[in-house]
Symmetry: D2
Subunit: 483 residues, 4 copies
């Protein structure tokens, strides 16, 4: 999503040792009605239900009386909507919104989404919200710059925007069809024009996108089905990989824009990103997580006094493990709910002292116990190590660490902010080395085979576990002569 | 805490139907060292660990080179500390801080704490942070106003501040001793002067306060022990009811300022307010909650398919219930973690549509199931009713509702923002009427006897369950002739 | 200049009784060098010397490395330039600037100049600064709106901008030539593109514009020659009516864009607007003013004790009168130099009490004296009446009022903010009626014949004195089919 | 007025070569009525008429319903009053205001006046506005600091404020009487308490202060009588040197607080500072200026073609000279009215080029002429030199320079911001050396004897011309034991 992708990850490596999870990059939500509706509330609560997909910034574009008005703001969804002087100004008949993940790096307002294009009289003619990540965009950007296009932001999303804008005089559908022949990567996109809402997904369908029905006049589109619940809409269906959905005065219609399309949705959506109450491509997220705990027990049974889950995403696996093993689940690892904001620790002494800012165990329950602790994944290993330290200081007798996902050995180029290989501990240590590094009695990861079984097929992207991506990043050449 | 106490509650009754929990009013944290230390970080992370006690505003006063500097800001703890231009300016040798709960009513900056008093040359000579609520303050305020004292805020805390200020020329200890003969209510207070940190608790010890040790030169004081963990301090002991603790160059000393003191700490701290990883007056909070689930099963066993806990405070009881009953605990009630901020819903249609903004169940798991659902308490009943509606819409076959506390029949005057009796549903409906109102198959509350057993004695304030308070509100007369 | 021209004047009639002068609408200044120069300072001090032509707002566009950067701000010239973070950002090789007059009405930021046009990638490609006023612009605006052009401001200047922008792909010179066939009125304009500075004047040359030379590489353009002095430039020549001046890498060249052009510069520039140290179309402004005093004495000699001039523009005429008559000139009418800002008088009582806010006489000098008082003009008559009142209250024995311009009987449509005929006192009262209204012993105006003699010809616009304009406002039809 | 007096002057020496005039430090205005009146407008227009005495900042305190409310703001008087949200909030029955001169140095908000003192409950109990300058305040400040007084500003005025505050419990009159025994210097002060307006002047009466009557219930006090005209008040009388005026419910009364008092008002008030329409201690300011021109001609008659006055303060002398000599006065030196703000000239080249920013001559009138040019004074000589240069470049044949005041050879310690002796050119050059430096044909200063004659006595402070001050700066010892 960011131009300075590697730089930021490197920066994170140094700064963000306290937050060691892969970070999702966005949630999108859109609505189109043939009549005036409460677009303000629909987008607000649709995005609010997707808040877990990004907390850095929120924005939305509303189509009202033929004009597209956009608001973007740093911070949480409800704050962005509260910042609006009059909700009435945003009551139109279509809208798109975007929520963006929070970074420790500098805030780049110009990258906030929706990104929009204006004509030379300052009227917005197109606004887009993108979840995913394009690859190999630099040659396209340079080509476009040579054509005289002045880029205002640094994101891959603007490259997509400028391409669509370039072809827009042929109509939005043709513009999108032409654009997607020029780009590669992961993209689930909502595009709002002066009279249409268009959605499209890359041919691998790497990021999710689904359609809901509010009433006979009104459709919504959302990254996850939990957002349909959030606005009281009925789930209709997922947008297909390589499909374009057009909604306008005529209603909803579909067009397949890639002949060769595959189902290759990101498996990490199920493991970590998506909300457990979402159903994505007919698989229930929470079930995947409960099952992973069960599989973990079956893979390597252990005798212990209690099972702990790292809140929140490790808890369902821990409960699954508990059910499978009969070892009691105990809610004795307390998470500070207000974490997520950055903070300053001016002195080194305090930096060392503060180890349990995010998680605090109930010491008396831990003391002398044999513990199975389950986290959703291990990325850099720093959080896991810190957690083991905390449990040991509380007097745990044995610690059996379980990761509810396979070892992460490769970075993601398709919309998740994982660090460089150098920082992926499973890419650099054998399991035994890692066990020693963490100083635990046993260590296991969910096996790829277990994951295939739980998901019911291999039709997903497992790039971060295998290094093999549905998008052939290396050999990919953008045919910029066609632009 | 607020002068317009009833007005605000009434307001809430109309506006805040989505948030139906009693609201705590504050957390306090203090530090004193004989040497320069990282007061900025200590107060920051101490308050951060107490963030659950209030999210409206945060403030702190630091004693640096003999001057007391105060920062106060609307919003969360980490935001207030980030707002500081230079952390170095707040590196002194003593500090106090306060975090305040969020309200839907208007924001009154002048009530943010710490509250401080200046001399006529604008130098701060005293700063206090108060958790609790004073009763019958109006006659004292009027008396002081007649003496020419100009009140800048509207809180009970300022009355206490002005009394201490009035007597301050006799020294802070004497000033506090004189002040407490004039006030009644719940107060756990930290007071910072130009060379001392003083803490004192009302004679019933209604709000908690404990002492921790960072190193041989440095003491901390906190509302809950989880804040000691938060800054890496060792728990030393609780401040006693009616005790005053003085920390200065000479070290720490204690003085009993009430001959007649009793242990009457608020039982609701254990049920709802305190963090589960805190230990208050030697009772572990999380154990109380787990036990309450067990007791609830023993009180009225039921056959069911799963136990749900209303996140977060209902979960430990649900797990306790599950353990006692063998009915599996299922984490299938998903909480939106970003709730807590107010928001605008401009249209009536949307207000009706939005029922599961805060909690969304996993429909497939609920469908056709017999469910035991446990919440920490029932206040107005609106949240419970909404929850039952959601579960029924997901297809629950039976719903057995359990409250992990006794029926709340009386408001709190001692530091919790519960509504007026009119709005306390258990004060207005029999259990059977309430069961019918909620439309559940069975309903039970933790009995008072169970609660006594769990807490091990009756030495607590059970005012909201019984209407009997350790402070005799009605007959209390302030002897203002003594002022 | 403003769309709501009449509305504003009407407003003024009610509000601005204290400020009764015609108001000029702008000064422009431009610079082009083949090399990098101190464009920041040149435009700053050029505009500063033109500050008398407008105090409402100031703006400037600088061409630096092929990009046009614009700053606009309410207030005075030096304030706008001080608001810039780094002067270095505005050191380029060409620039234009604009200073705008102050109004009592609402501030319309979007009308501040320079006005600029961007391409669809937000890059500025054209910036213009306009002194003057177009007539009959509404049909053109509507035609352009129908073509899909989105107007961002409400000024006539934007109509001109959008026309030039529309034709800009044919080059700036052609775009200007096409534009001027579509517009009528008064315009002295500077246009800055990515590589040129172009200046052009309407075929009557109603507003002034002159060229100066800084060095062999650098030309400047300014509304008045005093701005050439202000930046140390040599006067080169006036831009001719109907002439276009192009300055670029090749140097300066001229093109006559109107076959039929006339010298019809506004005579009021000499009487009131221009700075006395300016020379406009070879006539020295201060000489016109001194001469008008002499002519006034010759027209109707009077015996008196002293001559007063209303500061500042009445003073040269008073000195001319004094020289011609031998009656001593006395500087005993003191002007508050800080007037010019609006202010609030909340009570009616004070509104009546405050008569001499702007001018205060030295009472002892006035008492018992026969006074000739000379103002540059009489517009509404309110200021004159107020002044006479002040002099009478100071004890003047006789008052002989002289206007250094002919009676103003018609509004200006060509760049001066005079009020509607209803408010022009000479349009509504005979000279004798006016003398009685003012309660003076005698009253005279400079005759049109005297003015012709002073200016040396009738080749000027005398519209406000005669109601006859060089632009045939009434019959004018814009041939919008040609657009 | 400023603690860092010399530092600032030194700074000025380097930076402010374009502005070479002594700078006055303040104007004060006050009003008291037994009834509610339009205090907002009275103070606004009173200060507005005193705007020439200071343009840096403006402030005012209004007594309304027993509370003193203060507004202070950088910038001009009308801006400060416009910044007020509701004028109604400042409609009381008494008020004081202050206008402060503009500096090139840093802006110190805390020194803006009125300065006020609060009690420990944040209620303002005293507000003062001071024109003048105290000497030898450091020992007093230190003594007070040792007593525990915390200074918030750096000005001499705060020392006075803190002294009055210290003694205030004995009543404002006694507090002032005690205070003035401890301070020395120039002070014309207005003090507002919760029920009184008190004015007092130092025993030499160095800065002016006069009383006016609005109606039977309402008195005003002002630095100059022009401010009485400005609010439509009648001049009553000057406050006497060493007199205290008390106005309250009882009306106006006087008390002589210095047995030994002298009339020693600053002679520079007449020469430069005061507005020409003011009458100070029965001498008309404009007459002094006209007379000085006459005396200058009599001192050293010269044959010339025209007399020029440096606007504005040199003009009356020039007219006086013209009358005495018969040489015509010509208004051909044009002043840019918008000067006064600081500005940035980023390049050295432009700094050299910009010589006539402030004054521009009408070249054609100057060319070949023998000119007498009169300025009010010569301080550093830089302005004079620049002016001569400009006239020569315009082709003046002879230049005869006249200063309408004697040579300034010593700095002022009593309220005028003149530079250090090193920068006073008359302190460093003989008249002949100065004539050569300025490159003029002749040079003369008004002689001290002429000045005595014009003022009618030697009962004035002539310190800057003689180095002898009514306040014995050197030997003065503050008897701080008496504090």
């Amino acid at each position: 999503m960011h131009r300075d992708y590697y730089k930021r990850n490197k920066y994170r490596a140094a700064e963000n040792l306290l937050y060691d999870s892969p970070e999702e990059e966005c949630g999108v939500f859109g609505v189109y009605s043939t009549q005036k509706i409460d677009t303000f509330s629909l987008v607000q609560f649709g995005l609010f239900a997707l808040q877990h997909r990004g907390q850095e910034a929120c924005g939305f574009s509303v189509l009202k009386d033929g004009f597209i008005h956009t608001v973007k703001q740093e911070g949480l969804v409800l704050d962005a909507f509260k910042s609006v002087e009059s909700a009435e100004d945003f009551q139109g008949n279509a809208a798109i919104g975007h929520t963006r993940y929070t970074t420790a790096g500098d805030k780049k307002r110009y990258n906030y989404q929706p990104l929009f294009a204006k004509n030379q009289y300052d009227k917005t003619i197109l606004s887009i919200a993108h979840n995913g990540n394009l690859v190999c965009i630099e040659p396209i950007r340079k080509k476009l710059e040579q054509e005289g296009i002045n880029f205002l932001a640094t994101s891959d999303t603007e490259v997509m925007l400028r391409l669509i804008q370039k072809y827009l005089d042929k109509g939005i559908e043709n513009a999108i069809k032409q654009t997607v022949t020029n780009i590669e990567g992961a993209y689930s996109v909502l595009a709002l024009t002066e009279n249409k809402l268009v959605a499209f997904r890359d041919p691998n369908g790497i990021r999710p996108l689904c359609i809901g029905i509010v009433d006979e006049n009104t459709y919504v589109l959302a990254s996850e089905s939990c957002a349909l619940d959030g606005v009281g809409a009925q789930f209709f269906r997922d947008v297909l990989p390589g499909e374009m959905i057009i909604i306008d005065e005529e209603g909803l219609r579909s067009e397949i824009i890639f002949k060769k399309a595959h189902q290759r949705i990101c498996s990490f959506e199920y493991i970590y990103f998506a909300r457990p109450d979402s159903i994505i491509e007919n698989i229930e997220v929470h079930k995947v997580r409960m099952e992973s705990g069960k599989k973990l027990y079956e893979q390597s049974p252990v005798d212990a006094d209690m099972v702990l889950g790292v809140p929140d995403s490790g808890v369902p696996a821990a409960i699954g493990y508990s059910k499978a093993s009969g070892i009691p689940f105990m809610p004795v690892l307390i998470k500070n709910r207000y974490i997520g904001r950055s903070f300053i620790i001016p002195t080194q002494e305090m930096r060392e002292r503060i180890v349990n800012l995010k998680l605090n165990p109930i010491h008396s329950e831990i003391k002398g116990k044999r513990i199975v602790i389950i986290d959703d994944s291990i990325v850099r290993g720093t959080t896991s190590k810190r957690l083991v330290k905390i449990l040991k200081e509380s007097g745990a007798k044995e610690i059996h660490f379980r990761s509810a996902s396979p070892p992460i050995i490769a970075p993601c180029f398709l919309g998740i902010d994982t660090p460089d290989k150098r920082y992926l501990i499973s890419s650099n240590k054998t399991r035994e080395e890692l066990r020693e590094y963490l100083k635990v009695n046993s260590l296991d990861f969910l096996s790829l085979e277990s994951l295939y079984e739980i998901l019911g097929s291999k039709n997903h992207c497992f790039g971060c576990f295998t290094g093999k991506y549905p998008v052939n990043k290396k050999n990919y050449k953008v045919d910029i002569s066609a632009l």
